[in-house]
């Protein structure tokens, strides 16, 4: 007890460096995003105004504050282009997360039922693709899905189609890419809860006469809900803001918000609108983010 107390004091000091780092490079930048989202674009370096110059005296700073406005936010909520982008991002994220759960659950369930030795192997096999580059894995799919790619060659050879099917630049390709990339994020938390589950509970239900379907829906699934929650959040939140996958695999006629933000920033050089888009995205994701933080903290700290 006392030893634990004494150990805790220097351990608390260990927080100082990472605390300051994250405050400076994670928290403070949001202040700049907020400030610039209230500014206007300008043909200047940096490309927005007003620019706060703290050496210019009090009057200049006050004038700069006066020049801030919520114009960009008004634009974002009134222009269909942006509203559609948010709606599409949420639709894509919800659909993809549902597919991921549908595919990931049976795999995680299969893993949890393997003999203990094989479980470790299966876990490594699921983790390895997570370590290989995101971009490379999407590129691998472009190889397969392109006009004269492997998929079309196989379909033609099997006479399933009479001419090559257009796969690239479609929503199906995008969903495929998202599911492929995020599958490990869904499987691992599911597996973690399923593996911890007491098999005797399922056996007891079966012994008492429950058919396999009832065992699953009344015992297994409810007990795995913490894992379902963690997996859903782990996939849903980043997918909403996803940029690379829709950019490379989906068509360009309807954009997700991550793409819109990228376009405003890099192509249109409209930093204020890009910042306002980021702020709104953050507000949309605030509830799931807080929920995720709680799940994660419970998992790591209250054991």
């Amino acid at each position: 007890m006392s030893a634990r107390r004494i150990f805790a004091r220097p351990a608390r000091f260990a927080a100082i460096a990472p605390y300051l780092w994250m405050a400076l490079f994670f928290l403070v930048p949001f202040g700049f995003v907020l400030k610039i989202s209230l500014s206007q674009t300008a043909i200047a370096q940096p490309p927005y105004e007003p620019v706060f110059d703290f050496t210019a005296g009090w009057a200049a700073i006050k004038a700069a504050f006066g020049a801030l406005s919520i114009e960009n936010f008004k634009l974002l909520v009134s222009d269909d282009l942006y509203v559609f982008a948010y709606v599409r991002s949420l639709t894509v994220a919800i659909t993809a997360t549902a597919i991921l759960l549908l595919i990931g659950y049976p795999i995680a369930y299969g893993m949890a039922r393997l003999p203990a030795r094989w479980q470790a192997v299966a876990m490594v096999l699921v983790i390895v693709p997570f370590w290989t580059s995101f971009l490379i894995r999407i590129y691998a799919w472009i190889n397969i899905l392109q006009h004269d790619g492997l998929l079309n060659q196989i379909l033609l050879a099997l006479h399933l189609v009479s001419q090559p099917v257009v796969w690239l630049s479609t929503d199906s390709a995008m969903y495929l890419g998202i599911v492929y990339s995020y599958l490990p994020f869904m499987i691992l938390p599911l597996y973690a809860t399923l593996a911890k589950m007491e098999p005797a509970l399922e056996e007891a239900a079966a012994d008492l006469g429950a058919p396999p379907g009832a065992v699953f829906w009344l015992v297994t699934f409810p007990l795995s809900l913490p894992g379902v929650g963690a997996g859903v959040l782990l996939c849903f939140i980043p997918i909403v803001g996803e940029f690379v996958i829709p950019d490379l695999l989906a068509g360009s006629n309807s954009l997700m918000i991550g793409q819109t933000l990228w376009l405003e920033f890099f192509t249109n050089k409209d930093w204020p609108v890009a910042s306002a888009a980021a702020i709104i995205l953050l507000i949309v994701l605030l509830a799931p983010l807080l929920l995720y933080e709680r799940v994660q903290r419970r998992q790591l700290e209250e054991r």
Partner: protein
């Protein structure tokens, strides 16, 4: 019911299909990187032609070198900061601002990269920092130290605290107890954390695109601009080299985690 009979045919099928789905595309990519034909889809026999092409591509080599330097530097800084953060969270008991601290550490794990990238860039612009190697390194450190913290924290949580307490009861000062007892025990997790940070940095496109400056593209940025123009056999070769490098890293990391006996469970995939 015996252990083996728990595994139904449905379980085996979903496992096999799932793993095939995860691995086939990468396998195909690797095989086609050895294709002699210029047409990506026609098999022209085995050849190392595209690897030669890559090693003669100065811009690509420079980007790869930049990525490697950023990955090593940011992974090392992230490992130090992440380990300190994990110690504070799992051994520091309660301290002021603890909730904010853990929030700042866990949020970047899922935060969309466009937001993290944009906000860091705006900070660098406001600070008038010259964009290039150091800004990307700082950005990657910020992202990857959170992953390191989760990996190390999960190991610390499964560790028997009575070991370090025994050392202190026998007269060890806390820092000494940490260095002699705790640190050796969590060393495999620290190594695994470094490896994870290294590969995440090597992989990142979005945050690097925001925070880098003209003339210092990383490898993913170069690959991305090539991929947008279509499939090129040389890219297959580069991707295979990256996969090979990461495979080596994974082997080392899994050897390291084999040294640590118990498996910590965490929501982060490691």
């Amino acid at each position: 019911m015996g252990k083996v009979s728990r595994l139904s045919r449905f379980n085996v099928a979903s496992l096999a299909l799932g793993l095939a789905f995860l691995y086939l595309p990468i396998l195909i990519l690797v095989i086609y990187s050895f294709n002699a034909s210029r047409l990506v889809t026609v098999w022209g026999g085995w050849s190392l032609r595209w690897y030669r092409e890559f090693f003669n591509d100065r811009a690509m080599i420079e980007a790869a070198w930049m990525s490697l330097r950023v990955a090593v530097a940011s992974a090392s800084m992230a490992t130090v900061l992440g380990t300190l953060a994990a110690m504070a969270l799992s051994r520091g008991e309660g301290f002021r601002g603890r909730t904010l601290f853990s929030g700042m550490l866990y949020a970047p794990l899922v935060m969309p990269e466009v937001i993290t990238g944009l906000s860091l860039l705006l900070l660098f612009v406001a600070l008038n920092a010259e964009r290039g190697f150091w800004t990307v390194t700082i950005a990657h450190t910020t992202l990857t130290m959170c992953f390191v913290a989760v990996v190390v924290q999960s190991r610390l949580g499964s560790l028997d605290r009575s070991l370090e307490e025994a050392a202190m009861d026998l007269g060890c000062a806390p820092v000494r107890a940490f260095l002699l007892v705790t640190l050796p025990l969590i060393a495999p997790a620290i190594v695994a954390g470094w490896m994870l940070a290294f590969t995440l940095s090597l992989d990142d496109l979005v945050i690097a695109s925001f925070t880098t400056g003209p003339g210092s593209a990383t490898l993913p940025i170069r690959i991305y601009s090539e991929v947008r123009l279509g499939v090129k056999p040389e890219i297959n070769a580069i991707c295979t080299l990256v996969i090979g490098l990461i495979a080596i890293v994974i082997v080392i990391a899994s050897l390291a985690s084999k040294l640590s006996s118990s498996q910590g469970e965490s929501a982060a995939p490691l």
